[in-house]
């Protein structure tokens, strides 16, 4: 195991918590004293920095939402003097105003250190050639990975996105060993390479991929690893947190969140109460050392779960599972939180049905009733009714095991369910109609 900073990365958890508390205390005092926004927020919320006497007092602090960043566009939340700032990144708002993130030199440095630890934990080091195929520019992916890769002494090929054939040529000519890109772009590279008569597995030195910035699944990882012959590591971060910050280590068992940079809460989106390790909830983050744009209890809207126990790599920092959806998509069925992504994930493992599905929720005799409609594939079609009922029962059982709530399944004809371009609207909730 190679650590970038063994002292921090393997620091006992109590020590990490002490460090987090000190950083938090310092942060709230600073913000209360010098940030009109935070002072007002804390006053409205009836909390004073003196009330923060332990890490668990974190829950006394008010939440922050994406809307706060939009409302304060462009620079209402920027904390440091103009002269201290060295960079802006801007995320394009798909809805509403964009959000601006400002960085001090120390912010850039911490961001880079975070990625240096992450990249090292995937086994990359000096001598590796890393192709950065995330976009360079206002988006944080390209520049973030670029700095992180340089910091560990790797050679960077800053290809950014596009011109895939050229990317593949460079990958061969410059003996690229790792790539950072979205999972779908990685599969696209594989397909284009095949059309060019090049096998990524046999004709290149590519062995690792750092993938993220869009949802992906374990199934996709298996496909990438078996087809392209490379190990794929999940990476997480959004521009509000600086950019991509954390990745899985070689154990591929959730991404390590560096406790000295970020305090992690996983909350039930409904009750705002913390959930146990292994249980899914909303990721709420506090950036303990960020300067340009401080972030306290920021509701990311991302759904994940904390992995229990210490990682086999020896790093003591907590690990989070690959994101499994957005809070906006969450459904509450008989009091239980259900995510369409869980249903999607379950269906992917059932060969008798296709990937398309629809969810209909209604209230029957004052009880929530969830119906999942799936398409039966031609290969699975039997003209014997008991076989079909058996298939349906099996899907119902698997969904129940996964969701902890019983579900009715309806078999639909292939091609009969709606197809979506872009964001899918798979849920029809009749309870509110």
């Amino acid at each position: 195991m190679q650590y970038w900073d063994p002292r921090i990365e393997t620091m006992p958890q109590e020590k990490l918590h002490e460090m987090q508390y000190r950083l938090l205390k310092n942060l709230v005092y600073r913000l209360y004293s010098f940030s009109p926004f935070y002072q007002q927020r804390m006053k409205e919320h009836g909390v004073h920095p003196d009330d923060i006497c332990s890490l668990s007092d974190m829950k006394k602090l008010p939440f922050m939402r994406k809307q706060d960043l939009r409302d304060n566009y462009p620079d209402g939340l920027i904390f440091y003097d103009h002269e201290e700032l060295v960079r802006y990144h801007v995320s394009s708002g798909t809805t509403g105003k964009p959000t601006v993130v400002a960085y001090t030199a120390r912010d850039i440095d911490n961001w880079t250190i975070s990625l240096a630890r992450a990249l090292s934990s995937t086994g990359l080091s000096r001598g590796d050639v890393i192709q950065v195929s995330y976009g360079y520019g206002l988006f944080t992916g390209g520049l973030g990975l670029h700095y992180g890769a340089e910091r560990i002494g790797a050679i960077v090929v800053p290809t950014s996105v596009g011109n895939t054939e050229r990317q593949i040529e460079l990958m061969q000519d410059l003996r690229v060993t790792a790539i950072a890109c979205t999972p779908s772009y990685l599969l696209h590279i594989g397909e284009v390479a095949e059309r060019m008569g090049i096998s990524i597995k046999d004709d290149t030195l590519l062995r690792k991929a750092i993938v993220g910035a869009e949802p992906w699944s374990e199934k996709m990882r298996e496909r990438i690893e078996s087809w392209l012959g490379i190990k794929a590591y999940d990476i997480y971060g959004t521009s509000e947190l600086s950019g991509p910050l954390f990745s899985e280590c070689e154990a591929q068992a959730g991404f390590h969140v560096w406790s000295d940079f970020m305090f992690t809460e996983i909350l039930d989106p409904d009750t705002d109460e913390p959930v146990l390790p292994g249980v899914k909830g909303e990721l709420v983050v506090t950036m303990l050392q960020k300067e340009g744009l401080p972030i306290i209890r920021y509701r990311t809207g991302d759904i994940t779960a904390m992995e229990a126990g210490i990682c086999s790599c020896g790093r003591t920092h907590p690990r989070l599972q690959r994101l499994s959806g957005r809070v906006d998509d969450m459904l509450i069925i008989r009091g239980i939180n259900v995510f369409p992504s869980q249903i999607e994930h379950t269906l992917l493992g059932i060969k008798e049905v296709g990937e398309h599905f629809m969810i209909e929720i209604d209230r029957v005799n004052s009880l929530d009733d969830m119906l999942v409609r799936v398409e039966i594939t031609p290969l699975a079609f039997s003209d014997k009714i008991p076989d079909l009922i058996h298939i349906r029962k099996n899907i119902e059982n698997q969904l129940k095991n996964q969701l902890n709530v019983s579900v009715r399944v309806e078999l639909a004809e292939p091609g009969s369910l709606p197809r979506f371009e872009g964001k899918a609207k798979r849920v029809i909730d009749k309870r509110s109609m």
Binding site: F381, D383, K384, I389, E410, E413, G415
Partner: protein, 144 residues
């Protein structure tokens, strides 16, 4: 082989229980000039299976698949029944004696004969027992 000549290709299709699915199928057969010789619908809650014997099996299958139906060929056999009380009993008893399970069946009774269509678990044994018991089986080409 002799027994295989008695296997009849039935076209089966999966259908949701919603208005118009049968009409869609029937219209497709009309357009293609396909004649239905025997037909049944089996229904469960939420979905059904339509089974047909037609004169132009291949055309029927291709047309339905093209329309997006979930469609399959299934081997069935067709036994000529005595068109009088006890006709069904004789055949059912013959198969029961041989411990052959009928997965489903349907029948039609025309001017000249009554025919029982059977889907069984051990089709070759079933053919053997039915022939040995003196019944006649209809071949696919006789449906043309």
């Amino acid at each position: 082989m002799e027994k295989e000549s008695y296997l009849i290709k039935q076209v089966s299709l999966f259908s949701e229980n919603k208005p118009g699915r049968l009409a869609t199928m029937a219209k497709a057969f009309l357009d293609e000039g396909i004649n239905i010789k025997a037909f049944s619908i089996a229904e469960a809650d939420g979905f059904g299976v339509i089974r047909v014997l037609v004169d132009k099996t291949r055309e029927a299958y291709d047309k339905l698949a093209e329309l997006g139906f979930n469609v399959a060929y299934t081997d069935v056999i067709a036994v000529i029944m005595r068109d009088e009380p006890g006709g069904l009993y004789e055949i059912a008893q013959t198969l029961a004696n041989a411990s052959i399970n009928i997965e489903y069946s349907y029948a039609y009774s025309g001017k000249d004969k009554a025919v029982l269509i059977l889907r069984v678990d051990h089709v070759e044994e079933a053919i053997e027992h039915i022939l040995n018991a003196g019944f006649n089986l209809v071949r696919q080409q006789e449906f043309l």
